[in-house]
Symmetry: C2
Subunit: 331 residues, 2 copies
Amino acid sequence: MKIVVTGAAGFLGQRLIAALLDRGEMTTADGVLSAITQIVAFDRIAPQHCVDPRVLPKIGDIAEAAAIADLIDSDTDSVFHLAAIVSGEAERDFDLGMRINLDATRAIMERMRNATPGAKLVMTSSVAVFGGQMPATVPDDLVWRPQSSYGTQKAINDLLLADYSRRGYLDGRSLRMPTIVVRPGKPNAAASSFASGIIREPLAGIEARCPVDLATLLWLMSPDQAVRNLLHGHELPAEALGRDRVINMPGLSVTVSEMLQALRQVGGATAAEKVTVDRDPAIEAIVNSWPGNFDATQARGLGFTADPDFPSIVAAFMRETGRMPTVTGAR
Amino acid sequence: MKIVVTGAAGFLGQRLIAALLDRGEMTTADGVLSAITQIVAFDRIAPQHCVDPRVLPKIGDIAEAAAIADLIDSDTDSVFHLAAIVSGEAERDFDLGMRINLDATRAIMERMRNATPGAKLVMTSSVAVFGGQMPATVPDDLVWRPQSSYGTQKAINDLLLADYSRRGYLDGRSLRMPTIVVRPGKPNAAASSFASGIIREPLAGIEARCPVDLATLLWLMSPDQAVRNLLHGHELPAEALGRDRVINMPGLSVTVSEMLQALRQVGGATAAEKVTVDRDPAIEAIVNSWPGNFDATQARGLGFTADPDFPSIVAAFMRETGRMPTVTGAR
């Protein structure tokens, strides 16, 4: 079985590839559990070095038709498409966002339709497709009313994936992800970047700025949980999904204040005191347009899962980065 | 004031142009009531001959960038974009539908952004964006879950129009139209074509086939009402719309059986007996995926209106085509 992963150098891509290698076999669109023979790890920059002979790194520009033609062929069984321009960058540079987030995704779908019809496509969507007046808990049938170009582009991808799936051009699954926390590495141009920064930086002894009010409600998922759900989304049989190919993931509904309490509880008071609230209206406008809670009925029925609580997310991040949590999670 | 109309040779385009000429002035994006100096009537075929010197006919392929560049320039104040591939055709020929319904619409928006930023764009969307499990009456905040490629393409246009408007690239208004009945002329490849055919053909003494069950509930609007709403949608100030640029129009919720009763009442028993039910599963699958009723709260609040009842739609069509209604509408 040959699997393509785009955005392979990203933190989620790297974890996904590690999890796929660890698992060793996945189910093809025909429903056959098959050994993973190759993972093509595509990104614009070189992915983390990987000694596993099953991984074939490929560097290229996903906006180029030739790169996509080279990436996906008749042997490709599944594509995990994670590559994207983040929300802040897509808002600043509309054309870049359209090219990478929309046109490249559509080109991948077209290539799959022509080269390997019916293959599986697992994609990440975003809560940024929602906006405007919303109930406190978002039901699965709430209209998508994106208030950013990133959310618009993700919503369009979702519509395309559903139609390509309905027509049998591919077997698509779009997982609408909560904000992923704690991301490792450096802050990025996502409007949600602070949500990782206010945990990651203090734990490394660095001052962190929180650009939103403490009462801001976020909808969160840990990187490990996201990978578990990506694998689960891939493995679900098409019949279980029917025509509903775009799935609001379960998550944790947590205020920034609760996040900082968890940081204090699990990471210690010294860490928690490194966070300063310094509100940024541009970031608040985007973040406040996202919903803070979902019922995720369809997803739970399909067996997708959420993290148990926020302290355990902080504790897992500390263990991953070689630190010892003060308290290992609330439960 | 210079106005561009695409799909100008279509029945709605022709009526819209006549109504614009009759009105003589419209409001620009700056809020200034201005005399209409030119209407560029664009279509792939020659529009109906028009002696009014304000109308400039233009024949071209909307899928060509050069045609769009030639069509819209810095003098263009408003665009009414009506050109589209109908639902049945977009379902049969996916690539054609994507090219005309999606890519050409996006190209129009890009051209407006570059040549005449902030100009008004009035577009028709469709109830075909809805599907799957739905409440009996569709609320304004129901998710779009298209079950056809046509519906998918219209939904994507709606998302783009909202984002282009939010960014100030244009001042967009997308009116989500009910099925327009009674269309004049010949049957077309729209899955909803029968809804006009079962009135139009019998009144002309021709046998008509009804491909859906008599209990099928349709959401309808007359051509005149559609034009009234297009003009109203153009004239509304941007502040009244805010970010909600995609508006479910009010309409009439009528069963096919009620339509045939109205035909009998207004057009006579001889006409009504020319309709035979001969169900077509392919058409029923598409038509039954569309909702039969909407609350259209936002639209009514903004002053959009519906026809009073179905007999008056039949009576208006008869008068237009030089026939005398038996009873001139129910009220």
